[in-house]
Symmetry: C2
Amino acid sequence: MKNDVNRQFRLKTRPTGRIETSNFDFVEQPIPEPGPGEALIRVLYLSLDPTNRIWMSDMDQYMPPVEIGAVMRGGGIGVVVKSNSARYKEGDHVSGLTGWQDYCIADEGMNAMGVLPKGLPVGLPTMLGACGMTGLTAYFGLLELGRPEPGNTVLVSAAAGAVGSIVGQIAKIKGCRAVGIAGGPDKCRHIVEDLGFDAAVDYKRKDWREQLAAATPDGIDVNFENVGGEIMEAVMARMNLFSRMPLCGMISGYNTGDPAMRADFSPILMRRIEVQGFIVVDFMAKFAEGATQLATWVAEGKLKHRETIVDGLENAPVAVNKLFDGGNIGKLVVKVAEAP
Amino acid sequence: MKNDVNRQFRLKTRPTGRIETSNFDFVEQPIPEPGPGEALIRVLYLSLDPTNRIWMSDMDQYMPPVEIGAVMRGGGIGVVVKSNSARYKEGDHVSGLTGWQDYCIADEGMNAMGVLPKGLPVGLPTMLGACGMTGLTAYFGLLELGRPEPGNTVLVSAAAGAVGSIVGQIAKIKGCRAVGIAGGPDKCRHIVEDLGFDAAVDYKRKDWREQLAAATPDGIDVNFENVGGEIMEAVMARMNLFSRMPLCGMISGYNTGDPAMRADFSPILMRRIEVQGFIVVDFMAKFAEGATQLATWVAEGKLKHRETIVDGLENAPVAVNKLFDGGNIGKLVVKVAEAP
């Protein structure tokens, strides 16, 4: 790896299905020079998230799509290597939208990044996962929108994934029955034996609908929805009167498009389900509260976390497909550079 | 009409599309004798509602479907003709699930009916419409779930119908822009000129999507959804960030089945829309408050209402199709007998 250039993935074409390396130009640019009030950030870790796939597409979405020719958008953590801003000191770790590149510029305005506290009890990848945006997504989606009561059955899809694995554990902390849907015996074992879910449903088995019924004998009070498609429809068919459905994502549709995002609205009507779409930044005002709670649970050993770390920026476009192929457990991050 | 028998529509077969008279046996039974704690009710008016069609089907629904061979379920108003209950006095008007028949039995338990106050300032059909379940459906769905703010754009489909016409008028009372979708120039003129909606969209015209865009220049903050199908999808595509969508019905799907009830969930996610299914009985604890407010608005001339009255119980199965054909304005009722 060269340290004297800024390697960048720039979006060349929008993927039509699976993400290909050929959807990007991998270019080398000079390392940028920070202006007044700016800092130069060496990117250390990139967060790979299903929303990366949305940003690559031109579907209706909550931020503008990444423009063709622009650096791919992505969350990450970096270290300040040069600063012309009182906000950032050399050596500070910062978190924010770094983009898929070796270096980025942080400023004090629209492109400001968050400075992480010193002496964190967890590693930097965890600050992208359980104690970062991922954990906050699970925390606010479940607690603010799902509003689980002790004894409720909370179901989460993509349950071995970064968000889903936290959702189920918070459900358990709150006295609920936690049921996860995941693909394959390893993931199903992991969420039950390692994370303490009450039951797992393996959607790769033909009898997944029967497993789902057996795992939710009292129906479903909260469905934390991550996948969409036929799994979402099967879950909705088991949702109780006045149940809640925080809609966090529909990953099954991001590669295939519209059909997997279409579903029957009639259970919403008949069962009076509350469906609420959200993204984590909707709860920005409460981030400090959520992050403190998540870090406390991690410190107490109540919230387990796992990161899958892929080495090398150059592997980001291949690695992100793990999220859609089902080939990932826990939080997926790319290590871009060694932390100094 | 004979007064010495009880004519009843009993469900013979479940309609597969449009409701046919042949889906029912029209039978004559003896007038029932009220037991202890019971009263005999002469049915005066039947309320025809889209939900009648749901009850005839065996789709997943919020009450058990009407069993084959059973009297068709329906709301209505009647008069007490004989009473063995202190709750009901001869001559009282009562409201409840009378069924599609000339006479029914009210009791003090599961089949109790509500006794209407004396000296009502509106006619009995209005007590099934603007001041009854219909008005309450509009009132609670809009105000409790839609939570409109002054200046918001409130859109309602089936806007010339019993519920929709009330929704738009309450939106105006609350300082909102009210936009209605209705079929044909008569209905569109009616909701704007007679009811005070700000704009109407005629879905029978080819340019309805352009009309919808023109009528909602600032997007849509509350969608009171009555119809489902492609109209719902077009409306959802114009809903604003953090908008609300009380889901009252999906009438376009009741005859045709599932496809019209399927729609894209991605706007819910991307725009963080809150979708909440409901039926009016969910708000039973607040019925008195709502009914008082509705009656006050009617008395003040702020809430206009119109009833379409079809004469004769025998015409109920034909008349109910008006709800699905678009051949009805306002509240549709069947007059079963002259009020004494």
